[in-house]
């Protein structure tokens, strides 16, 4: 779906404008399945402080200009992973990007574009269908697999073994990585980076005994070998996870097992 035709100017005068605010144009890809055949862009000139999160601007537009604007949000500080969207063409969490970080030098460009993440069906405005994403996650057995009797106390694990998979425990399942992956855009049956990250989190956990099962799953035609190492996923991750590196480590685990 390509977005076409822009709409007339919106009345944004009801949005509270705190002292020191600038005027920012927020250009949003809109789509209402009950009214529209395809998405289109609408622009809103809104007051914003440099320290505002992009989420604040979206909420102001929803609250004071157009209540039909729809997007997910919850924690508003980068922990819950609800508000992944394309902001100026890059996948990020709207609550973790501040206006000041998007402004071009010396007041030239003051437009922020917002669109839904790609690769998952757009349902309405910034809402995408998350089901295919979670389906891929569930497919890699993202839980500790351990056989034998449970110990009475905790399993022990050295600090170094704990550190081995620390990076991939940070994942919040926001889908920024998976929906930035060109392979995933081209072919939705690829597991995608987030699922592989969550497989990695267990494959490299010294307490886990399910590595082989998971590696078999990821050795599939739609598995880890589809990765083209473009690093989009690593760039997109709001948690700073070295996603591409994790995928490479899974590939290496498969190779060594085969050798």
């Amino acid at each position: 779906m390509t977005a076409v035709a822009e709409n007339p100017v919106h009345d944004t005068s009801q949005i509270p404008a705190p002292e020191g605010s600038l005027t920012i144009t927020v250009k949003i890809q809109r789509f209402n399945p009950e009214l529209d055949d395809e998405p289109h862009w609408e622009s809103y000139d809104v007051p914003a402080l440099p320290t505002d999160r992009v989420l604040n601007l979206l909420m102001n537009i929803k609250n004071y200009v157009d209540g039909t604007l729809s997007f997910r949000r919850s924690c508003a500080h980068g922990i819950c992973g609800s508000d992944a969207m394309q902001i100026n063409g890059i996948n990020r969490l709207a609550c973790k990007v501040l206006v000041k970080d998007l402004l071009a030098k010396k007041g030239k460009q003051t437009t922020i574009t917002v669109a839904p993440i790609k690769g998952l069906p757009t349902m309405k405005d910034l809402y995408v269908d998350m089901e295919p994403f979670f389906e891929a996650y569930r497919a890699v057995k993202p839980y500790l697999i351990a056989y034998g009797n449970e110990p009475t106390r905790e399993r022990t694990q050295s600090a170094a073994d704990r550190e081995r998979f620390d990076d991939t425990t940070k994942c919040i399942l926001c889908a920024c990585c998976t929906s930035s992956c060109p392979v995933y855009w081209a072919d939705g049956s690829y597991f995608g980076p987030a699922a592989i990250v969550n497989a990695h989190r267990f494959i490299f956990d010294s307490r886990d005994e399910g590595a082989e099962e998971r590696l078999d799953i990821l050795n599939d035609a739609e598995g880890v070998w589809r990765c083209r190492t473009t690093f989009n996923c690593t760039d997109a991750c709001p948690r700073g996870i070295q996603v591409t590196k994790a995928i490479q480590e899974v590939k290496r685990a498969l190779l060594f097992k085969r050798i």
């Binding site: 039909t68 949000r73 609800s82 839980y143 919040i172």
Partner: protein
């Protein structure tokens, strides 16, 4: 309208809901209804840890943990419940480890532990290392681990289903739970879930305040549904303000920072907690630290251009401790305030954080309809519930413990109750109330805007019902909230559609917030003493003679349906009856609370 049938329906997919689901799902046919995707819950925002007397790093035992919980709650804690929680804490932590939770480790490879506010060795002698943690992401790890185990056990989720009402069937012995009514976000359809038992695990209602650590979605839906049935909410006046929110924003900075040695300082750099809590200083319980911070500011020792915050000084901890043990809060300070905690102190101020009160339950998670009777088939666990293990002030880490201990208990109890029982017949037209609300909002053309009422509500609650309260401020808050409830009847939403209509749902959520704010303020007005999270400037002392008791707030519902009520909600505008419930004492006599 679609009708579904399950043995157990769990409402909410945060820590308590998923912990309940793991138990219930293995014993009975279970569905989890959640207005968010499971991993979006605010359990994930908890940071510092989960206390249990594992004694992995120093001597400790569950009796000390019980005592701390009781004293921390300013003796309003039900001591039998606190004892159960402290005892079962040990297995709760070990269970999570066995489920895969990646705790930080000691050099010996055991679960590491750190200090936390109000948790002490031998009844207050010194701070003790009791909090089991995973960096400053303990809540995130708990939420992920519980979801992972739900996936493992094939738990059935209905994601983005907003439960807006529950259904009870009248029997000769009183009401019995029989179902839940949900609004499906994607389609606007209304679903009725028949169930033998129902578990509320819907979390808190921090969004009644402006400055809060809570997510936008924490609108108290479960408590609101309960109150609108004329059922009691316990201890609503006790709301916790977490001392260290990022100044002006309210984003949480874990108490674990002070557990690792960070220090609160006023404008002159003084470590002011030495004056208020000479023994454990910065690791005093949250109510005491929050009050102290506000006093520093009120007495002119605040920092910054407006002297309206204090500093959390982490600079002496060094970059390595911050990056490895407190990485997320380090990033929050950098991202949202542009302050690097490695280099400079972080501006902080108390932020609305946690409801000690909620749906009254017994220690099995069974919901009470009055002081003595349960509602068969109805359960509650986590922040939505009031067992009461937190009394007048919850200790840090005890919420993650609460969701695991009482989530598990409620899940087991709900499944066992469902066993061998038939579904209770639903009353006629079980979805009438929800259909009426939705229909009203789809057709109303009033002049009031959700955002305006919500903003004014949050303003008055911040100004008049926060850390310090007086008769005058609370009366002001009550007047304001009641005026806003009146205006709520003239609310209109712009989105009249069926697909992903969050405009409509925000309007419904606002209604719950208004109800809960009113109940909070009303109970606060009546409690003419200072205890835990409820600090009255006009009654600065604890009054055990008159107020060593839980409050129970009931909305008084009209006998007849009022067609003109806001959104068709008869009894939305109502009087409130206040009753009281005795505190359970076992081992500990109330003492003066000093740290």
């Amino acid at each position: 309208m679609q009708v579904h049938k399950y043995d157990v329906v769990i409402i909410g997919a945060g820590g308590a809901g998923m912990r309940a689901a793991i138990e219930s799902g293995q014993r009975a046919r279970t569905a989890v209804l959640t207005k968010l995707y499971p991993t979006r819950s605010h359990t994930g925002a908890a940071q510092g840890g989960m206390c249990a007397a594992l004694a992995n790093v120093e001597e400790d035992n569950w009796e000390w943990h019980t005592f701390d919980t009781v004293k921390g709650g300013d003796y309003l804690t039900d001591q039998d419940a606190a004892e159960i929680m402290a005892k079962e804490a040990i297995d709760a932590v070990l269970d999570l480890e066995k489920m895969g939770l990646p705790f930080n480790r000691t050099p010996e490879g055991r679960i590491d532990q750190r200090r936390f506010g109000g948790h002490t060795r031998d009844h207050g002698k010194a701070a003790v290392r009791r909090s089991c943690y995973a960096a400053d992401r303990t809540g995130h790890m708990i939420l992920q681990t519980l979801y992972q185990n739900c996936v493992k056990h094939g738990i059935e989720f209905y994601n983005e289903f907003y439960v807006l009402d529950i259904v009870m069937t009248e029997t000769p012995d009183g009401p019995v739970a029989s179902g839940a009514v949900a609004y499906e976000l994607a389609t606007g359809e209304i679903h009725v879930f028949k169930a033998k038992s129902i578990v509320f695990a819907t979390g808190g209602f921090g969004k009644v305040f402006k400055t809060t650590s809570n997510a936008h979605t924490l609108t108290g839906d479960g408590m609101g549904i309960y109150a609108r049935k004329g059922l009691p909410l316990e201890d609503m006046e006790f709301y916790q303000f977490h001392p260290t929110g990022l100044a002006g924003l309210g984003i949480l900075l874990t108490e674990g920072a002070r557990g690792e040695g960070a220090i609160l300082r006023n404008e002159s750099g003084e470590r002011f907690m030495e004056r208020y809590a000479p023994t454990i200083k910065d690791l005093a319980p949250r109510d005491i630290v929050a009050r102290s911070m506000v006093l520093e500011v009120l007495e002119g020792r605040g920092a910054g251009p407006n002297k309206d915050y204090v500093y959390l000084d982490c600079t002496h901890l060094g970059a390595e401790v911050l990056e490895t043990k407190l990485p997320d809060i380090t990033e929050f300070a950098r991202t949202y305030l542009g302050v690097d905690p490695v280099e400079e102190p972080v501006p902080v101020y108390p932020t609305a954080h946690y409801a000690m009160g909620g749906i009254p339950t017994n220690v099995h998670g069974e919901a009470l309809r009055d002081n003595d009777h349960v509602i068969p088939g109805l359960y509650a666990a986590g922040e939505v519930a009031c067992v009461s293990v937190h009394g007048a002030n919850r200790l840090g880490t005890n919420s993650l413990l609460d969701i695991n201990v009482f989530g598990r208990r409620a899940g087991i109890a709900a499944a066992e109750y469902a066993h061998g029982r038939e579904h209770v017949e639903l009353p006629e037209n079980p979805a009438t109330l929800v259909e009426g609300m939705v229909e009203h909002l789809r057709t109303a053309h009033g002049g009031e805007r959700v955002a305006d009422i919500r903003t004014e509500l949050q303003q008055t609650m911040d100004s008049n019902a926060a850390v310090y309260r007086t008769e005058d401020t609370l009366k002001q808050a009550l007047t304001d909230v009641q005026a806003l409830k009146e205006r709520y009847g003239r609310i209109a939403v712009q989105d009249k559609g069926k697909r992903y209509n969050t405009d409509l749902l925000e309007a419904i959520e606002l209604g719950f917030l208004l109800d809960l704010a009113e109940l909070l303020v009303n109970a606060a007005l009546a409690r003419k003493e200072s205890r835990g999270g409820h600090a009255r400037e006009d009654y600065p002392n604890r009054d055990d003679v008159n107020f060593m008791r839980h409050s129970m707030s009931y909305k008084i519902l009209p006998d007849e349906v009022d067609p003109d009520a806001p959104l068709g909600l008869s009894g939305f505008i109502s009087d409130i009856r206040l009753d009281y419930k005795p505190v359970t004492f076992t081992r500990y006599e109330p003492m003066e609370r000093k740290y």
